[in-house]
């Protein structure tokens, strides 16, 4: 008996020391001012990182940051590509995030087709979203010739104009007549199809028309503006882009676009004379060269201090590029990213393995940096979409920490005070146990690299409330036993012994629910489950074992302060 008590005291002392050791980094970090931290970051960054790694981690809801869940769209992949698509996507996203330079990003798989990305302390949310969420499929495509483009545009105008009048006449007209009109329309289409070879004439008429504003006859091209005679592409006012997109989606317009051509907008809008415009291009669908031949990409400035990206191709890529550019000198070549045109410069001479992506007027050096990052990290194996997006501002996190800490302190004081008033000296012993409980709990959190969240703080408070329960059970039992006339020593022994089964049963039921909660969903809730289960398990030790050891220090009791 005596010896086992000695062992227990040794064990408790050891646990206290171990906890101090586990908590030391957190305490040190907490006592450092922001300026001190910055200093350490610049002088000994490794030290700070290892210190932060050993301290209690704060969840995104306390630290602020961004939590994004991406869904990998595997529907268009082949069977053998589907298997590791998510893993590859995860690796590529990790690469991009690492290069973006965010400390302690958390990236992991969720379920069969989701990737969770947590970026703490992030400021530029939209930039990060774009960086993570884009497929980054780089492709080089030739443009449709200006002549063919003009002819297709003209046909679109005519068919749309026809459709408009048809639509007006159609109102209240019998179905049979409608069918006749449709037949007429087909004839019109056929007529134009025959005219197709004669493109030059078409272009001139079109250009002539452009000078006279017959808007009603140009339902499509009225939205397009062309700068310069043979400029690659057109400009669409930002406000009018939705209308253009709607028109392009119409089936009758789709029919007019040749099978190996496609319309594509630019990546970003440009500003001309205080108006913002999107670029619109008619591209050949054929991919001349893709981003998989890229070995490096770096952001730089051109001679006008405009950002651009220099890229280097593999040997094979260089050969293909040389062939393509050599055969198309003086023609524009579109560089597209995820189907949108980054730029469409005119090829001046044969290019081999080194090239430049111009980024246009409004692009910033950050845009160039991000483009280089995604190009270097490579394209995702399949498109992803953001299906969950949570952003927690740093001030909300600070607020939560402050309020959480206040709640813990107040709640703690209330409980401590109550126990001392109600159970006197025994209550003080219980208070000591609760304090130790909290201390061990924090140490365990640090040692297990668990994350503290706002619900986790609520869990601490709840633990404080529940931890005294074991002592209340024991003390009430001791009181009962004393009432039956037992000696104090016997009452203490019986109290501990008889209360034990109830304490264990009650705590195990809490552990069952905590275990279930741990498997439910998101980080904050997991944080709560961890705190609750650790707290309850530790309370078994502090409230039952440690208080008992203290009670047993004295062998004989004449009176008991309870």
């Amino acid at each position: 008996m005596r010896r086992s008590r000695l062992y227990l005291i040794l064990l408790i002392s050891f646990l206290i020391l171990a906890s101090l050791y586990a908590l030391y980094p957190s305490i040190k970090l907490l006592s450092m001012s922001d300026a001190n931290k910055e200093e350490l970051r610049s002088t000994e960054p490794q030290d700070l990182i290892s210190l932060e790694g050993k301290a209690i981690k704060l969840g995104l809801d306390l630290k602020g940051g961004m939590h994004v869940v991406l869904q990998v769209d595997k529907s268009k992949l082949k069977e053998n590509e589907k298997r590791d698509a998510v893993d590859r996507a995860l690796e590529i996203i990790r690469n991009r995030v690492d290069q973006f330079g965010i400390t302690e990003p958390l990236i992991h798989k969720q379920g069969g087709d989701r990737v969770v990305v947590e970026l703490p302390g992030l400021q530029d949310v939209e930039r990060a979203q774009a960086l993570i969420g884009q497929t980054a499929q780089l492709e080089f495509k030739l443009l449709e010739t200006p002549e063919n483009t003009m002819s297709i545009l003209k046909k679109i105008d005519e068919v749309l104009a026809q459709a408009e009048t048809t639509f007006i006449e159609d109102e209240g007209v019998e179905a049979t007549e409608e069918r006749e009109k449709e037949a007429e329309q087909d004839v019109v289409k056929d007529l134009f199809a025959e005219e197709e070879p004669d493109t030059t004439e078409d272009t001139t008429t079109f250009l002539e028309e452009e000078e006279e504003p017959f808007y009603e006859e140009r339902p499509f091209t009225q939205y397009l503006e062309s700068f310069g005679q043979r400029a690659a592409g057109f400009w669409v006012l930002v406000e009018e882009k939705p209308k253009v997109e709607l028109l392009l989606k119409k089936p009758e317009v789709q029919e007019l676009i040749p099978k190996d051509d496609e319309f594509a907008f630019s990546t970003r809008a440009e500003t001309f004379q205080n108006q913002k415009y999107w670029g619109l291009y008619l591209l050949k669908k054929r991919v001349e060269l893709s981003g998989k031949y890229l070995v490096d990409a770096r952001p730089t400035y051109d001679q006008f201090r405009k950002p651009q990206v220099n890229f280097t191709l593999t040997k094979k890529g260089g050969r293909i590029f040389a062939r393509v550019t050599g055969a198309n000198i003086d023609k524009p070549l579109a560089i597209t990213l995820d189907g949108r045109v980054e730029s469409a410069p005119t090829i001046r001479s044969k290019i081999r393995d080194r090239g430049v992506i111009e980024m246009g007027g409004v692009a910033s050096i950050e845009d160039a940096t991000d483009l280089s990052i995604v190009l270097r990290a490579g394209a995702l194996p399949a498109p992803v979409k953001i299906i969950e997006n949570r952003i927690i501002g740093p001030s909300l996190g600070q607020d939560s920490i402050r309020k959480g800490t206040t709640s813990v302190i107040i709640g703690f004081c209330v409980v401590l005070l109550f126990m001392v008033i109600y159970y006197k000296l025994s209550g003080l012993i219980a208070d000591f146990a609760v304090l130790l409980n909290l201390f061990f709990l924090m140490a365990a959190m640090a040692a297990l690299h668990a994350t503290l969240t706002m619900p986790g703080i609520a869990g601490i408070i709840l633990t404080v409330g529940m931890a005294v329960d074991a002592n209340v059970l024991i003390f009430e039992r001791i009181r009962e036993e004393m009432r039956t006339g037992k000696t104090i020593r016997a009452a203490i022994d019986a109290g501990y012994k008889r209360a034990l089964t109830a304490i264990i049963d009650a705590n195990i039921t809490t552990l069952i629910t905590a275990a279930v909660l741990f498997n439910l969903g998101t980080g904050p809730i997991k944080g709560f489950a961890v705190v609750l289960s650790l707290g309850v398990a530790i309370s078994l030790f502090t409230a039952v074992v440690i208080t008992r050891v203290i009670f047993d220090i004295r062998k004989k009791y004449r009176t008991l302060s309870i």
Binding site: I387, G393, Y422, A458, A506, T509, I512, T513, L520, G521
Partner: protein, 307 residues
Amino acid sequence: MLQILKKTNIDFIGKRYYAFAISGILVIFGLAAFVAIFLGKADLGIDFAGGTMIQGYFEKEVKIGDLRAALSRNGYDDAFIQSLHREKPNYFLIRVKATTDEEVTQISSDILSVLAKEFSQNKFNMDSVDGIGPAVGKTLQRQARWAVLLALAGILLYIWIRFDFRFGVAATITTLHDVLLVLGIFFILQKDITLLIVTALLTLAGYSLNDTVVLFDRIRENLKLFRKKGNFPSTINASINEVLSRTIITSLTTFAVVFTLFLVGGEVVHDFALALMIGIVVGTYSSVFVASPIIMEWERRSPKRFK
């Protein structure tokens, strides 16, 4: 010694019919809430329903009506707007239900630009954005349903092993009763059912069980002692009276800390703390007035002497 209660001898079992009536009515509300959730009629938080929630504050005064009108003008006439002036002046919560996964990031940035445009002289500082696609909501709903079922099954199993089948059933019914009751009260108060509320419900399932288990433990102990006297209701009554002061003290300390959380913990955990507060009261009541009478009635209808 300081005592909240002197030795009591209250006839709890005798009042069981009142308790059954009260519980019955409240459980019906809970069941209504449960059915409403399944039919999608209840106020599910965006965790489960999908949607976008933005929290933040304006630097100068803004009336909630003006904010509503501004959002309405820009196509968000179904936006739910709540003033959180408890937290900070001009602090608002804006919630829009999303319909597709594509809109998850779009709506939040769109609303932020609407606010910047409509209140160009008064900066809106974004505190947090939650955008959750319906697909994620569905996943969480499924997880939450499983979590509740698993927790109840685990409890039934554990009590069954530790006590016996009847105790297990009574404890599970009591736990279900507590969860439904809090759910019912939240339904009446028109509070959103969020993931954090489900967490609170599960936590209080564990907590209320705590009370029930302590009581059952004492009943089991007393049944052994009183075996020869054989008066079942009085054994239960005596057990309740014996553990009553413990039940009340523990409930008080736990209630006190949760109440602190409710008062100063801030908006994030406000409803969570409220659910726990209600749950603690309900859990204490139910262990005395629901769990024990079930055991008692069961024994009366089909006598099977406990060990």
